[in-house]
């Protein structure tokens, strides 16, 4: 166990030393990986912020309930009781048909038309605000109300919520796709730097194989190189994300003051950040593994 640990510590130190020997190549590779990873990471963070913003919006989806034209006062009272009894409503209010007509005639261009009307064509209406903005919950309430005999029609005002959800879902899928693509790019970058490493260390690999090195032994330093390079690239990406969010946040703060809101951008959290590092290390290691294994099976001394 002790020798095993010593072996690995030795390998890490040797890998860091090798990176320090070629600082430019190392820095360029780290930047390439960092930028590639920061793109989906920044988008992910922005998307999360938008989702949070949407959740915090005061505007709630509403359901408009129109009574039948011949609905009685008793039926209105009945509905009032029913709405009161529901626990999934945040608010509801009654809009009498006369008030609605007054409201309508105030609108420009409609006044002339309403003046010519001999009788009020508008029904009594209720505006119901569900507690939840989930499309399912809204639909559920709408269906329940629609079933009442004295109700003519129910209009869900939840389409915008569905649309927004769809757009956010699309955004998430886009980020996932981008992350996959750039993850593949990371594997390629890592594989390529390892390939160059292998070229400069061909003699060492050949001699090691001739004197009894296992594939695992030969692979190990390259794997370390790939993993460490991925780690540094991941850290660079994290830095890029934090820096971008920091810079954006000041603009967002200005903007939200103008809207009399208090909204702060959230940066990459600890857990997503650690996941980012882990992915970078895994992908870097994968690139190294693929390249070294390919070389090992190509060389004739195996």
């Amino acid at each position: 166990m002790k020798t095993w640990l010593a072996h690995h510590r030795q390998a890490i130190v040797a890998t860091l030393a090798r990176m320090a020997q070629t600082p430019f190549a190392t820095v360029f590779a780290v930047i390439a990986i960092g930028v590639a990873l920061s793109l989906p990471a920044v988008l992910y963070v922005l998307l999360n912020n938008v989702t949070r913003l949407v959740g915090a919006l005061p505007a709630q989806p509403e359901i408009s309930v129109y009574m039948r034209m011949d609905a009685t006062q008793m039926q209105n009272d009945d509905l009032h009781q029913r709405l009161k009894a529901r626990s999934d409503l945040a608010d509801f209010r009654f809009v009498p048909r006369d008030a609605a007509l007054v409201e309508l005639s105030k609108q420009a261009g409609v006044a002339d038309i309403s003046a010519g009307l001999t009788q009020n064509p508008l029904p009594d209406a209720w505006v119901v605000t569900p507690r939840s903005s989930q499309p399912d919950a809204i639909a559920h309430i709408a269906t329940a109300l629609q079933a009442l005999p004295y109700i003519d029609s129910v209009k869900q005002d939840s389409q915008w919520a569905q649309r927004l959800n769809a757009i956010l879902g699309l955004g998430h899928e886009f980020v996932t796709l981008l992350a996959l693509l750039l993850g593949a790019a990371l594997v390629a970058v890592s594989g390529n730097t390892i390939r160059l490493q292998i070229l400069t260390r061909r003699a060492e690999i050949e001699v090691s194989q001739l004197i009894g090195a296992t594939h695992r032994y030969i692979r190990r330093p390259f794997l370390y190189f790939g993993v460490l390079q991925g780690l540094f690239g991941g850290l660079a990406a994290w830095l890029v994300v934090s820096l971008s969010i920091y810079l954006l946040d000041r603009r967002v703060a200005d903007l939200s003051t103008l809207y009399q809101a208090n909204f702060q951008l959230q940066s990459l959290g600890l857990l997503p950040g650690l996941i980012l590092l882990l992915c970078a290390m895994l992908l870097g290691g994968l690139g190294a593994y693929l390249t070294v294994t390919r070389t090992l099976f190509q060389s004739n001394a195996h």
């Binding site: 010593a6 001699v207 004197i211 009894g212």
Partner: protein, 217 residues
């Protein structure tokens, strides 16, 4: 220790390097492989170390069939074989002692044990004073001796040498051969490929003559 049964090696392209070879080498023997260049001496050594595989027939080393050996087992076979190359195959990006340490690092020796063993091996070949030098600064004879130190440092039971005195002058060549003799006296089995008939005659070992891949009686 080594047994060839009807071994033929044909390289891709049709060239037949070895043809129906059968012989046996016992433990502790010192055997010379003689023959002109291209007679198949190197190929024969490569078959023993599983660097090449026979086309037909079987090559047994310590009663293991190395021709059928899995990839995973080959490294462990090679750790018991010291290989000495005509072109030395030294690594010029590290010091003399680092070159000798390589087999021990691969075999997983502790740093302390490895260092003392490596020094002992360098002492045996008379290069202890040059341990910190870069191998590229060594003469041809010294490089060959360094290659020998690397081959014997893990104390293998079998040494394979391919033209170890190939491009050395007579004095150096005698040094090397005396070293081999000394290893043989402590029980190491040696197989030495050489086209140097004089050297072979001086050491009166068993000689296997190869001619165009065929063993001469």
């Amino acid at each position: 220790m080594i047994r060839f049964d009807n071994v033929t090696k044909r390289y891709p392209g049709g060239h037949e390097a070895l043809c129906k070879l059968s012989f046996e080498i016992g433990e502790g023997e010192m055997v010379f492989l003689a023959g002109h260049s291209g007679a198949g001496k190197s190929t024969l050594l490569k078959l023993i170390a599983a660097i090449e595989r026979p086309t037909t027939g079987s090559v047994l080393v310590n009663s293991q069939n190395v021709g059928k050996m899995g990839r995973g087992a080959v490294p462990y076979l090679r750790r018991n074989i010291g290989l000495i190359f005509q072109d030395h195959k030294l690594l010029f990006d590290r010091s003399v002692i680092q070159n000798v340490l390589l087999p021990l690092q691969i075999a997983g020796f502790s740093r302390h044990d490895a260092a003392s063993r490596a020094r002992a091996a360098l002492d045996k070949v008379g290069l202890l004073k040059r341990e910190k030098a870069n191998p590229i600064t060594l003469s041809g004879g010294e490089q060959q001796r360094l290659c020998i130190a690397r081959a014997v440092v893990s104390r293998p039971a079998l040494l394979l040498a391919d033209e170890p005195t190939g491009n050395l002058d007579a004095d150096y060549a005698r040094d090397i051969m005396d070293m081999f003799k000394a290893f043989n006296q402590v029980g190491v089995t040696l197989v030495i490929a050489s086209h140097d008939e004089d050297a072979i005659r001086t050491y009166a070992g068993r000689v296997l003559h190869l001619d165009h891949g065929v063993l001469q009686a």
